[in-house]
């Protein structure tokens, strides 16, 4: 870890601290103020975008633990999100559970389903696992569409979140709820990566055979990665359910799963900051495309009719390909480079 000149570690706690210097603290508090004051200067629409980004960050953080740290590819994360979303929908809507209980239950149910589909990971990896998770995606969505409990193709309505009598009805109150949970998830991921579990994940990712020889229980850690990754996806799904108020299997397509993988890669695999950057970039890009395509369409009538719907997948596909070729370590690496350059400026040697 590169630190500014003169920063020394006098004890272990200080060595392990996330925020090391006074500048770190100042920037961190500044960031918190900017984020949590957002309802003061953002309209409802942009608050909604921020909510979506927050929910996406939770999913991507889970996927990052699974794919980025543990190296197990999952192309079914939208499906696992759907499990969480429908669990809370059924529990709160039909059985009258409180919001927090529903949230925890949806995390666990998504985690358990993830465990089932993660079982093959003990014997296979790479492409085989990718296919298994694609199969998981299709099977989960099929079950949702054909089960009477989940409302089938029609969908199911979800009551807004509420804690102890306070109902999160407005966009701003939901913003605070989602941001707090997102912050907790990021902190959890950050600390997990620095613990024994996180190091075991990294060992499994780099060479699972060598890890096993060193005494890491592959079965346990691979399934744990699946559980944690899908648990976070379930939490994100539950938040999405309470935020939108209405669920339909259309919210969780294979395309979304692919986009999530893209976000992890664009953000940077195996970093804490990566999921935040990746999710924010892609969601903002989506907003930009949504904003700019009608403008372009009215400016150039010669553009074919499919422009509006076709441009988004084209751009995202291209972004994923370009990042993989040009910057496989993602935006997180750019961020590190920027920080190093900033710290050394103006004497870069």
């Amino acid at each position: 870890m590169d630190l500014p000149c003169g920063t020394r570690n006098y004890d272990y706690a200080r060595d392990m601290a996330v925020l090391r210097t006074k500048t770190h603290w100042a920037l961190f508090i500044g960031l918190l103020v900017i984020v949590f004051a957002a309802p003061l200067y953002l309209g409802n629409y942009w608050l909604g975008v921020c909510n979506l980004i927050g929910i996406t960050i939770i999913t991507i953080t889970g996927l990052n633990i699974l794919t980025g740290y543990c190296g197990q590819l999952s192309i079914g994360h939208a499906g696992f999100m759907a499990v969480g979303a429908y669990t809370t929908a059924i529990l709160t809507n039909k059985l009258g559970f409180p919001f927090l209980a529903g949230l925890i239950c949806s995390g666990f149910s998504a985690g358990l389903i993830g465990l089932i589909f993660g079982l093959p990971s003990v014997r296979v990896k790479g492409f085989y696992l990718a296919i298994t998770t694609i199969a998981a995606q299709f099977i989960i969505i099929w079950v949702i569409n054909h089960w009477s409990l989940t409302g089938g193709f029609v969908g199911i309505s979800v009551p807004p979140a509420s804690i102890g009598g306070f109902v999160f009805k407005t966009e701003a109150s939901q913003f605070y709820l989602i941001m707090v949970i997102t912050a907790i998830c990021i902190l959890f991921a950050k600390n997990l990566a620095r613990s024994r579990v996180g190091r075991a994940f990294i060992a499994v990712r780099d060479n699972d055979l060598a890890a096993e020889v060193m005494g890491i229980n592959l079965l346990y850690y691979k399934l744990l990665a699946f559980f944690i990754g899908c648990f976070l996806a379930g939490i994100a799904g539950a938040l999405l359910a309470h935020w939108t108020g209405f669920l339909n299997a259309e919210n969780f397509t294979l395309t979304d799963s692919i986009l999530y993988i893209g976000m992890v890669i664009i953000g940077g695999l195996g970093t804490t900051i990566g999921p935040i950057l990746g999710a924010a970039l892609i969601r903002l890009l989506q907003q930009g495309i949504m904003y700019i395509s009608p403008v372009l369409e009215s400016a150039f009538p010669a553009i074919p009719a499919g422009f509006t719907s076709g441009i988004a997948p084209m751009v995202f596909g291209l972004v994923i390909i370009l990042f993989l070729i040009l910057e496989p370590r993602g935006l997180a690496r750019r961020w590190t480079l920027f920080r190093a350059a900033y710290r050394l400026w103006p004497f870069s040697y």
Partner: protein
Amino acid sequence: MAELLQYTITGIAVGMVYALIALGFALIWKSSSVANLALGQLVLISSWFTYGMLVQAKLPYWIGFPLTILFAIFLGWMIERFTLRPLIAQPILALITVTLGVGYFLEGVVTFIWPMSVAALPRLFPQEPVHIGPAVVSQEYIWAAGISLLLFGILSLFFKYHKMGIAMRATADDQMAVQACAIPVTSVFSMSWIFACVVAAIGGVLVSSIGGITFGLVETGLKSFSVVILGGLDSFIGCMVAGPIIGLCENLGGGYLTPLIGPGIKDIIPFIIIIIVMIVKPYGLFGETRIERI
């Protein structure tokens, strides 16, 4: 009885087409160990291209089909040259996800150029149903199966006797040794992509001439993954054996389970087979079991 026979014949015929598409996957996997997850989108875009040539540009068959093949060749070359070539020797995660990106991009191209999302190809084969015993089978299925079988025969002869085919098999076996024998590995890679795209295009035209062009074709491509998984990733024979098995399971299961479980079970059967194979016999029927060393 008639029902059973009908499901069986349709299943085998559809399975042959799946096997053909899966062959394209196995080709790439064997020569370059790249998992092509854009298979479904390749099927989709070449079907739409055929539609554009035959229906929108009103070209006769004997111009339209060669143009489709040319397009597939071009597509395969482009994908290999501009996305896979820069990623040679990258971790497998990158290789898998880059094909996902390619697939996503192609899907965008399809919605961009053909926004109607559903279309029908003109009928390629005679319409009269054939009576085989008590069963009535649409003639299209028989044609599709026949063409797939023919192509499989041609491809296996190519791999057995043609110089390029032998080079491709050698590359699959040992890339370093092949390079030392002055075989251009990169051109073998692009050759395998070209073959895969052509095979996917033909499979796509066969499927969409029967069922029409929809986004379901992407799923058809994904279903042929179950063929590859069941047959074993690096085995051509495996594809040809597993294809009809998957087709049979899909049609028999679809026929007999739909009243019991509900509509749509047909589409999910191949994915359930994937999960079962993964847990029971992950390297498939004919696949090579990988033994790893540290």
